[in-house]
């Protein structure tokens, strides 16, 4: 199976979607079977892995998207990194706190809590080694579940997740701060 046509269609879909999309969505839009979509994604991954491409196929939390290759970061950061700064830090904090307190948790669950697409933030946190895949949820599609890493514990000076302050302590802390 060559899949040139199918991969081309998937490529266009990934481009038009902007946000990362999951396999089921790709199947629905492309009207291709799960196997063909997966094989097309594999083909795209190889195509974009070539040095002539500045984009690559990114798989994150069971979702796929095209994104700039890591090594282009320094060249693109000025324009595309900075403008997200303020928004990024809060969004990243929210996502990380949800994962820390609700792990194991899937991307969809995080998105339900935050009400927005979590793809970029999860990629950031994965890239920072603050979260990692911890298993598959026993639910349709077997979505990946995420949890925090050892690096996360180190960064926050925790010996284990059990050390995370409890929700009802939030109020006490608030009063202590004042």
């Amino acid at each position: 199976m060559n899949l040139e046509t199918e991969a081309a269609l998937i490529e266009a879909i990934l481009y038009l979607e902007v946000d990362a999309v999951d396999l089921a969505t790709l199947q629905r839009i492309s009207k291709l079977s799960r196997d063909v979509v997966l094989a097309s994604l594999e083909r795209l991954k190889e195509t974009y892995a070539r040095d002539e491409h500045g984009l690559e196929l990114v798989e994150i939390a069971d979702c796929y998207t095209l994104g700039p290759k890591k090594h282009l970061g320094p060249a693109l950061r000025d324009r595309y990194g900075k403008k997200n700064d303020a928004r990024l830090s809060r969004a990243a904090m929210e996502t990380l706190s949800i994962i820390a307190y609700s792990q194991p948790i899937t991307r969809t669950e995080i998105e339900n809590l935050r009400g927005v697409n979590a793809d970029a933030m999860m990629r950031l946190l994965l890239g920072r080694d603050l979260i990692k895949e911890v298993g598959k949820k026993d639910a349709p599609g077997r979505p990946t579940q995420y949890g925090t890493t050892r690096h996360f514990l180190e960064l926050f000076g925790l010996s284990s997740i059990a050390d995370l302050p409890k929700l009802d302590e939030a109020d006490e802390q608030r009063f202590a701060d004042e």
């Binding site: 902007v18 904090m93 990380l96 609700s102 970029a120 000076g157």
Partner: protein, 253 residues
């Protein structure tokens, strides 16, 4: 021609407002009469043109002026053609029709180009547009950002996220996320143990969502799976066990 008819619909009278202007009408008459545009029988075509204008009277004044403007031009050409011209065989002879013919040809050219543009418009009728016009990629490489926050920031952020959840969102959440998981857990426990505590199906006690979903799953199970719920004292442990009911087909006991 006393009653001009449209070629394609002979039963309908041609109306002036069907024409984009006097040149359009003139071209129509020329084509209809099947005459050579380079040798227009000006007498005949002028007569037809004027007859048509008189016939089609009911139109707005703005454009009728323009239609009559061309009529005047046609009459002028006609009168000049009637004048004897001693240079008629000369190369220098200016055919009075020449300017009009050039205008007609130029107009025809733009009509044709206009058709091409209409095709182009049609071919570009559909455009595909990305779902959003902003791609976000994070190249922020500022480790400082992460060192400045502590675990209390994390907690406060989380508690703010939870506080902002509207009731509808919570319903969404349990529908999509956890209720099925809890129901399958209940079924699993019923099979292996027959009786268990509510806290057994709360896998993440510090997650409000988890508790809420576990509770809703129990309510659902009471309704559909034939379980009984017991509580020994107020705020005590909730025990869940299979209800002994004869009418349940799967009830082996």
């Amino acid at each position: 021609m006393t009653s001009p008819q449209h070629e394609s619909s002979p039963n309908h009278h041609v109306r002036l407002d069907q024409f984009e202007g006097p040149l359009d009408l003139l071209l129509f008459l020329i084509r209809k009469a099947e005459i050579n545009i380079y040798d227009i029988p000006i007498h005949q075509i002028t007569e037809q043109y004027i007859q048509f204008l008189e016939y089609a009277a009911q139109i707005d004044l703005d454009s009728i002026t323009e239609f009559y403007g061309l009529a005047a031009t046609l009459l002028l050409i006609k009168s000049r053609m009637l004048l004897p011209n001693e240079f008629a065989d000369d190369d220098d002879y200016d055919d009075p029709r020449q300017e009009l013919v050039q205008r007609l040809i130029e107009y025809q050219k733009f009509r044709k180009l206009s058709d091409l543009m209409t095709d182009q418009e049609r071919s570009a009728e559909w455009t595909l547009e990305p779902r959003r016009n902003q791609r976000s990629f994070d190249f922020v490489d500022d480790e400082e950002l992460w060192h400045q926050i502590d675990v209390w920031d994390l907690l406060q952020t989380f508690s703010a996220v939870m506080a902002n959840l509207t009731p509808e969102r919570i319903i969404d959440l349990y529908e999509e996320v956890s209720i099925n998981e809890k129901i399958s857990l209940i079924n699993e426990l019923l099979e292996t143990r027959g009786e268990f505590l509510f806290t057994d199906i709360v896998t993440r006690p510090d997650s409000v969502m988890d508790v809420v979903c576990a509770f809703l799953a129990v309510l659902e199970a009471v309704k559909s799976s034939g379980i009984g719920v017991y509580q020994n004292r107020l705020f005590g442990d909730i025990r869940i066990r299979r209800r002994q009911r004869r009418e349940l087909p799967n009830d082996e006991s």
